[in-house]
């Protein structure tokens, strides 16, 4: 009796969770392990392993007795790290969170149809293929007077044309990524705002609150969880994102973030690619950074408490 029921439990487990486990192992865990192994080899263009070594990390850091860590970052690595930090921080705070929040607040305050229309507009870049979106930006920031931005600047404001890619590369990749990233925050926050019981808004109005107070005391508290979620999720997504950077800037040094560096050294067309072990080492560091930031943000935004207890009550 108990033997057959425990057998049934085991088979149920295998039948129901098996596929998911296989999927998880094959697509998520295995690549990390492969990456971990390859990072300590000399794998290059020929895709063979001749020796196990830490020399890939030697390309990123070098030993130094002056530094309290015992090593110093090499220039490329230092640059990639700081570019990544700036890129992730700016895109996240300006667009993915703040702008997403503003979009959600404004489009929910508009009449339903109009709000839906504006949200749809902001979703367009996400629906368009990346190449189309990148082409659009290339046209917008074209350094000659053909570019939309320069047409505006020159004919609209009588200013001199600017070369965004050359002079403001960080602004360009932050804005182009942000315009896409904001829509996710917008969608999640919109649905969260929608799920706030109407009576809370009514009560706040009757209690004397103006629009800003309603946002501060009714809306924002209900958005704490989705905001933490967006922050953690988008940080991870931005850390590894490189496609728009590559499409807009190519392998330019001015926007060589960690993810871009890993890509350039391995799969990107052109000189310098094919250094698989080197790329794996960079990726490994990126994975560690991702885990650490996720944990930090998780603590910082108190996600655990928020996950344990939903704060929105619906009566």
């Amino acid at each position: 009796m108990s033997a057959s029921s425990s057998y049934r439990q085991a088979t149920n487990f295998a039948v129901f969770l098996g596929p998911a486990l296989v999927f998880l192992l094959a697509l998520l865990v295995a690549p990390i392990i492969v990456d971990l192994v390859v990072a300590f080899t000399d794998m290059a263009q020929t895709v063979t392993i001749n020796e196990f070594t830490t020399k890939q990390f030697g390309k990123l850091v070098h030993a130094s007795d002056d530094s309290w860590l015992g090593f110093e970052l090499r220039g490329t690595f230092y640059r990639a790290l700081s570019l990544t930090a700036v890129f992730v921080f700016l895109t996240l705070t300006i667009f993915n969170v703040t702008f997403g929040l503003i979009l959600a607040l404004t489009t929910t305050a508009l009449p339903d149809r109009l709000g839906a229309f504006f949200r749809a507009v902001w979703l367009l870049p996400r629906m368009a293929p990346s190449v189309v979106y990148a082409l659009l930006w290339i046209w917008v920031v074209d350094p000659t007077e053909r570019g939309l931005l320069n047409q505006l600047l020159v004919h609209g404001f009588g200013m001199a044309p600017v070369n965004m890619a050359l002079n403001h590369p960080m602004a360009l990749i932050v804005i182009s990524n942000g315009f896409i990233g904001a829509s996710m925050g917008m969608l999640i926050l919109t649905s969260s705002i929608r799920s706030i019981p109407q009576h809370l808004f009514h009560a706040a109005r009757a209690d004397g609150a103006g629009s800003l107070s309603v946002i501060r005391h009714v809306v924002l508290p209900a958005l704490r969880w989705p905001l933490s979620y967006i922050t953690v999720f988008q940080t991870l997504a931005l850390l590894v994102s490189f496609e728009y950077i590559f499409l807009l800037m190519g392998s330019s040094r001015s926007t060589m973030t960690m993810a871009m560096l890993a890509y350039t050294k391995t799969l990107a067309p052109g000189i310098g690619s094919g250094q698989y072990a080197y790329g794996a080492a960079i990726t490994l560091i990126l994975i560690v950074i991702g885990m650490v930031s996720a944990l930090l943000l998780y603590r910082l935004t108190n996600m655990k408490a928020l996950l344990a207890k939903p704060r929105i009550e619906v009566h």
Binding site: L200, H202, A203, G208
Partner: protein, 354 residues
């Protein structure tokens, strides 16, 4: 502290009329109760008074001034929502203090009055809790405290006691009434509980399908209901309504002819007679008891006779009659209420007795 008037107020939701051409006026300091079935427009009416909904047509006046375009936050109306609507992220104390934020009350003073009002509604021990840690009844009392703290000109209570137990409800009824008198605040209470309406209010407004069916003192509504709806909605156990024909000879119900007084134009009528006014004391119409329910202080019987099934009350806690027993039923002309069956309105100057 405000005289409140509704003039021909209508609220449409698309093609549906939630409130249909209501006119009403409340004196300063008056306590009115709104009674009516679910969906009849009670909450909608309160929301229009609070400034949460705009009337589709008609005017709302506070102290004679039209306030249709005055925002909710400028009306100084305290409202307890049917769903309590407490702010989930704030503690009980913060919830109660919230309205004072916008009145620029000094912090110490605000906290003092919050604690006083919490004392009043018996939630002093709960001030540090979040609403999710409160029972329904506790949440209602917090909502009440929040509505009262700003000393509103008009207090709107949307079923504020529905989740309380019988004892607490009784004491809260008295508390609300006392606070209301003390502050002299004009109050409208929405309730499903007639006893609540009858005991607390100076005036009862009976609503049905978006319209005011009848308004008046509790006593007037009970003894002189203007419509069949008002008669049947108010009173528990409900009034007996017996369909019959008024003729020159009297009131014919089935095969029985009851004596009448007053005007006798032939017409279809409904005879209304409250259960406590039907007596089974050995003379009158023969009837057979079909059920007896002990209600505590009294017993409710249903008896079948030529008049149809009739409910009556006897003031004995143990049933006096058993099912199947034969009794005779009678009632006084003074207690009979006749309604014109076609218009469903009360007929003046005519009565029947058995």
């Amino acid at each position: 502290m405000a005289r409140v008037e509704l003039q021909n107020v209508t609220k449409d939701w698309g093609t549906a009329k939630a409130v249909d051409d209501i006119s009403l006026s409340l004196e300063q300091g008056e306590f009115a109760a709104v009674l009516g079935p679910s969906g009849c427009g009670k909450s909608t009416t309160l929301f229009m008074l609070a400034g949460i909904y705009m009337p589709t047509r008609g005017d709302i006046l506070f102290d004679g001034a039209r306030v249709n375009d005055v925002e909710a936050r400028d009306r100084n109306v305290g409202i307890v929502f049917q769903s309590y609507a407490l702010y989930p992220n704030m503690t009980v104390l913060q919830n109660i203090l919230f309205p004072l934020r916008f009145k620029k009350v000094p912090k110490a003073e605000a906290e003092k009055s919050a604690r006083e009002i919490a004392e009043l509604v018996e939630i002093s021990s709960l001030l540090d809790r979040k609403p999710s840690q409160l029972s329904g009844g506790q949440q209602q009392r917090v909502a009440l405290a929040r509505a009262l703290i700003k000393k509103p000109n008009l207090l709107l209570l949307d079923e504020p006691l529905s989740n309380l137990d019988a004892t607490l409800r009784l004491s809260m009824r008295m508390e609300i009434r006392r606070i209301q008198r003390e502050l002299g605040v004009t109050t409208i209470l929405v309730t499903h509980d007639q006893i609540e309406a009858m005991t607390m209010a100076d005036r009862i407004i009976c609503m049905n399908a978006g319209r005011i069916e009848q308004e008046g003192t509790p006593e007037a509504l009970y003894t002189r209901p203007e419509t069949v709806f008002a008669a049947s909605f108010i009173g528990s156990p409900p009034i007996n309504l017996l369909p019959g024909e008024l003729t020159a000879d009297g009131l014919r119900i089935g095969e029985t002819l009851l004596a009448t007084r007053g005007e006798t134009n032939a017409r279809s009528v409904k005879l209304g007679i409250r259960p406590e006014h039907v007596v089974a004391n050995g003379h009158g119409i023969p009837a057979e008891i079909i059920s007896a329910e002990a209600l505590g202080r009294e017993t409710l019987y249903t008896a079948r006779s030529a008049l149809g099934d009739t409910r009556f009350l006897e003031a004995t806690s143990a049933p006096k009659y058993k099912a199947g027993e034969q009794v005779r039923l009678s009632f006084d002309a003074a207690h009979s209420i006749l309604f014109d069956a076609e218009r469903d309105r009360r007929l003046e100057g005519v009565s029947a007795h058995a």
